[in-house]
């Protein structure tokens, strides 16, 4: 994860320490100012970056980077020094500087590519590059700080809540902004900027502090996150295109969290998990009012949801029974085989081979929209002057669903059942010797995960308006597993991020859709090599994947210590 530049030797740094601060200041200022200048002659590219004093897209991003740089420089020494006592501004600035150089180079390339040659880059663009380079240089000369323990940093609760709200607002605004970008260059540019910002703030220690804040204000954070998610459709200006993607992301994420119970908590690998989503969807389809629905019974949707989830959970129990005798790789293969059996059965149960339940490869099309308590999900509704289309309607119900699933996940995780799962994952025989009912717990993990996926499936069927066997192939299970692994096993936030990356990027970056799977395969291989615990790993998992990493163990221990005195820790 570290940027590749080597650190300067201490002597060199000490010799030039005085130059560091002004250099970094100048760099940040230049970066900030560059956004106000014209970056290109061509008004038609990248959202018009040709006009001075009217920053757009990439210019705006550069200014944001510059602004953060300025704050960090001033916090290092200057009016914001009180802040600098807590955060490692030197490390942060180094990351920010290097990231900004990457960003500026990217911007220059983007302009050259779009407008046809480097000659089309105006001074503003070059200035940004110069500023970024200066900032990097300056930051390299800055001495590192001795930091205070964040555990003791008690800002006033109001400030803490304000920070949470600000961060959430930034997330909402950022999401709305980036989803509105059609131009892939701007899209990638924004992601790049976000990445640099996050990296710089992480290196400065902001997120460590924020972690403590989040711990103290968990309820506020959860509430804020849901409010942001709830407000999201209102930022879409009546357009349903992004909402369609958003609903898919949520369904995917909800299923992945269910899988996370099985894989992340209980440590059982399931390669056929998509079958549970599929069984929920098929049950809903078969009991819907679609013309080719195969079951005559048409109960209200809430009953259908329960039936679908129960069917999925039953399948989960069946798939779980071999865990009595097999585990590890063999279990993975058993689940894979179950997944294939599910798909082939859906494929075959069409009246030609076996009873007609699923309509075979054609699936069940024309599933009507949901209608709950008189609320028609197919029709647009206008709320607070904003028209919310069909997918927004589904978005809200899915939001409720994923909220429920997250609740189930976290509460189970923090109960005797969750502890039992982790114990099984750690040492199954010891867990059993301590009186943990390992088999029942493993079954519960499978059935519980399947139940949640089944719930998601019933809604998915209506949202998709059709189900067919080719939606539930092995690759989808692999994608789910990848979301869990990529984001971080055993954590909710990680899975949400993993799911978003895996579903959103291919949609937005259509130009690489051809290479989507290739990159996916590569990503899996590289992740396992470089960061097997995922982007946001639960600390526990991180340890498992780095058995020998003593330093990390110490860090985590320190985190756990909090208020424990050194004597007790020995």
């Amino acid at each position: 994860m570290k940027l590749a530049l080597p650190n300067l030797p201490e002597e060199t740094r000490a010799a030039h320490a005085a130059k560091g601060w002004p250099l970094a200041l100048a760099g940040s200022a230049l970066l900030l100012v560059s956004g106000l200048l014209s970056w290109s002659y061509d008004p038609n590219i990248l959202g018009n970056i040709s006009v001075a004093f009217w920053p757009a897209s990439l210019q705006l991003f550069a200014m944001i980077l510059g602004a953060l740089g300025l704050v960090m420089v001033l916090a290092h020494k200057g009016p914001l020094a009180r802040l600098g006592g807590w955060f490692d501004t030197a490390l942060g600035l180094r990351a920010l500087g290097t990231g900004s150089v990457v960003f500026a180079v990217f911007a220059v390339v983007a302009i050259a590519y779009e407008a046809g040659g480097l000659v089309n880059v105006n001074p503003g663009g070059w200035l940004a590059l110069v500023g970024a380079v200066l900032m990097t240089l300056g930051a390299r000369f800055l001495p590192q700080r001795h930091l205070q323990n964040f555990a003791k940093a008690k800002a006033s609760p109001v400030v803490e809540i304000l920070v949470i709200v600000a961060l959430m607002a930034a997330v909402l605004f950022g999401a709305a902004y980036v989803l509105g970008r059609e131009d892939p260059w701007i899209f990638v540019g924004f992601l790049l900027m976000t990445g640099v910002l996050v990296m710089a703030m992480a290196r400065a220690g902001f997120f460590t502090w924020f972690g403590h804040v989040a711990q103290r204000n968990r309820k506020v954070l959860t509430l804020a996150a849901f409010v942001v998610a709830f407000l999201f459709p209102f930022t879409q200006d009546g357009s349903d295109a992004n909402m369609s993607i958003a609903t898919q992301v949520i369904i995917f994420a909800a299923t992945a969290i269910g899988l996370n119970i099985v894989v992340g908590l209980a440590g059982l690998l399931d390669l056929g998990y998509i079958a549970f989503l599929g069984s929920g969807a098929y049950v809903a389809a078969m009991m819907s009012n679609a013309a080719s629905a195969t079951i005559g019974w048409k109960p209200p949707f809430l009953v259908v949801m329960l039936v679908g989830a129960t069917v999925a959970a039953t399948l989960g129990l069946i798939i779980g029974t071999p865990t009595l005798r097999v585990s590890g790789d063999y279990l993975a293969i058993v689940t894979l085989a179950f997944g294939e059996i599910f798909r082939l059965s859906m494929f075959n149960l069409d009246g030609n081979n076996g009873p007609n339940l699923t309509n075979g490869p054609n699936g069940i099309p024309g599933i009507p929209d949901l209608n709950l308590f008189g609320f028609d999900f197919g029709k647009p509704h206008t709320i607070a002057g904003v028209e919310l289309g069909r997918f927004s309607n589904y978005y809200f119900i899915l939001l409720l669903l994923i909220g429920f699933i997250i609740l189930v996940f976290t509460r189970l995780n923090n109960s005797r059942i969750g502890r039992g799962w982790v114990a099984i994952r750690e040492d199954e025989r010891a867990a059993e010797a301590m009186g943990v009912n390992t088999f029942a717990l493993k079954l519960l993990a499978f059935a519980g995960g399947a139940f949640l996926a089944g719930l998601a499936g019933t809604i998915k069927a209506h949202q998709d308006t059709a189900t067919s066997p080719d939606q539930y192939v092995f690759l989808e299970s692999a994608f789910l597993l990848a979301a869990v692994v990529l984001g971080g096993m055993g954590t909710v936030a990680g899975v949400l991020i993993g799911a978003t990356i895996l579903k959103l990027l291919p949609e937005k970056l259509r130009f690489f859709s051809e290479y989507r799977l290739l990159l996916f395969g590569l990503l899996l291989i590289l992740m396992m090599r470089v960061r097997p615990e995922g982007l946001i790993a639960s600390k526990r998992r991180q340890l498992e994947f780095h058995e020998d990493d003593e330093k990390l163990a110490q860090e985590i221990q320190a985190d756990h210590l909090l208020d424990v005195t050194p004597e007790a820790a020995r």
Partner: protein, 406 residues
């Protein structure tokens, strides 16, 4: 890690841009006209087709043909006061992706009609999205019967009033093949299909007509399209000694099936629908494909004057990809929409406002297109039912017989 890769990608791009800059020149703009003619309003015709992946050849042919029709309409100022634009979306031949594409198009207030899709399965998901926005959809290639007649074959009911198609459907193609085979003396036939809507529907229609004529279906088998080996099916059919095999499905399976039939000693011709009418079929079936047959909708595009004229214009317009199997139908589909727009846009304030009127007008369209007469019946199906039988002769498809069905 992501960062490092960005660095390396960035470096590569930098080098590439240096190379570009050598031939780049200041002020060279990649964008098209913005403003300019001033007073005209814009209406967009969308395309949803596979522009990447296995079926991209067919999809690009559709897109280019629609583009050609739009360009010609703009040149001749077919709709005074309006400029037409193309909005093409890739569906990757996948229902989910197609649905997203449709959602995107229906969110664009300037889109008034869509040509597409290629696959019936994608159409099933695209139909409801476009219908809810009253955007007219004309498919040049869907042959699934249920798209226009609903799921229940006994009492046909049109599911979406916004959906039309310029090609005939399987309910016509199957019986057409049945008559041809029966008349050619193949009175005992085995059927095989891939269980998909297209193949199953085709075989069902074929079987009904064939038995009505007095022919005998000696075996009815299915295959799994994901599989490559059909020895189980061939072993099952062979003892029944059919005189021909009728296959419902597409060429990726039909080619190997034909080859494996013959290498296992079942030396009878294989016949299929337009799904196997492709050069790739002959390539896959190998030397033993000689004598295999297929039906396809319409007369061969290069067999009529109008069709030849279209192909000439297409080539002249400089498209690098061929018009492919559905070019003519796509061109006609686009022109059908344009004809409807001539009326519906006349007094309209915006494209969005004219959407509903366009649906009504499209139902009334009638003109001579490059594939024959273009007009729609009460279900949105084309009224023209010309079909052609092709046969593999000398490793090429040769038109055998063109006829109007009923």
């Amino acid at each position: 890690m992501p960062k490092r890769s960005v660095v390396s990608v960035g470096a590569t791009l930098l080098v590439a841009s240096m190379a570009l800059s050598a031939c780049g020149s200041r002020g060279e703009t990649g964008a098209t006209t913005s403003g300019g003619e001033g007073a005209t309003k814009v209406a967009k015709i969308g395309v949803i087709a596979p522009l990447s992946g296995d079926l991209a050849v067919l999809g690009l042919g559709i897109k280019n043909s629609v583009d050609l029709a739009i360009k010609q309409a703009n040149e001749s100022k077919a709709i005074p006061g309006w400029t037409l634009e193309l909005a093409a979306e890739d569906d990757q031949a996948t229902p989910d992706v197609g649905k997203n594409a449709a959602t995107k198009l229906s969110g664009d207030k300037e889109v008034i009609g869509v040509v597409g899709t290629l696959n019936s399965s994608v159409a099933l998901q695209v139909q409801p999205v476009l219908a809810s926005a009253s955007i007219v959809q004309v498919s040049p290639a869907n042959t699934g019967v249920s798209l226009t007649k609903g799921e229940d074959a006994a009492s046909p009911k049109r599911p979406y009033a916004t959906y039309f198609r310029t090609c005939t459907n399987d309910a016509v193609q199957g019986p057409f093949a049945a008559r041809y085979l029966y008349e050619a003396g193949f009175t005992e036939v085995a059927t095989v299909h891939d269980k998909k809507a297209y193949g199953q529907g085709l075989v069902a229609a074929f079987t009904e007509e064939f038995e009505k004529l007095g022919g005998k279906i000696v075996a009815a088998e299915t295959i799994n399209p994901d599989e490559d080996k059909y020895d189980a099916v061939v072993s099952a059919i062979k003892p029944k000694a059919p005189k021909a095999v009728y296959y419902g499905g597409e060429y990726p399976n039909a080619g190997p099936l034909s080859q494996q039939m013959k290498s296992q000693g079942l030396n009878v011709p294989l016949m299929g629908g337009d799904g196997i009418f492709d050069g790739k079929f002959i390539e896959l079936a190998g030397a033993t494909a000689e004598g295999d047959m297929s039906t396809s909708v319409g007369a061969p595009t290069d067999s009529t004057e109008a069709g030849k004229g279209f192909l000439e214009q297409y080539t002249a317009a400089g498209y690098t990809d061929p018009a492919a199997a559905y070019g003519g139908y796509s061109y006609d589909a686009a022109n059908a929409i344009i004809n409807a727009l001539k009326v519906s846009l006349k007094a309209a304030a915006s494209a969005e406002a004219a959407r509903a009127a366009t649906v009504t007008e499209l139902g009334k369209v009638s003109f001579d297109g490059v594939t024959g007469k273009v007009a729609f019946d009460e279900f949105g199906d084309t009224t023209t039912k010309v079909l052609t039988v092709y046969k593999v002769v000398g490793a090429e498809w040769k038109a055998e017989k063109s006829d109007t069905f009923e």
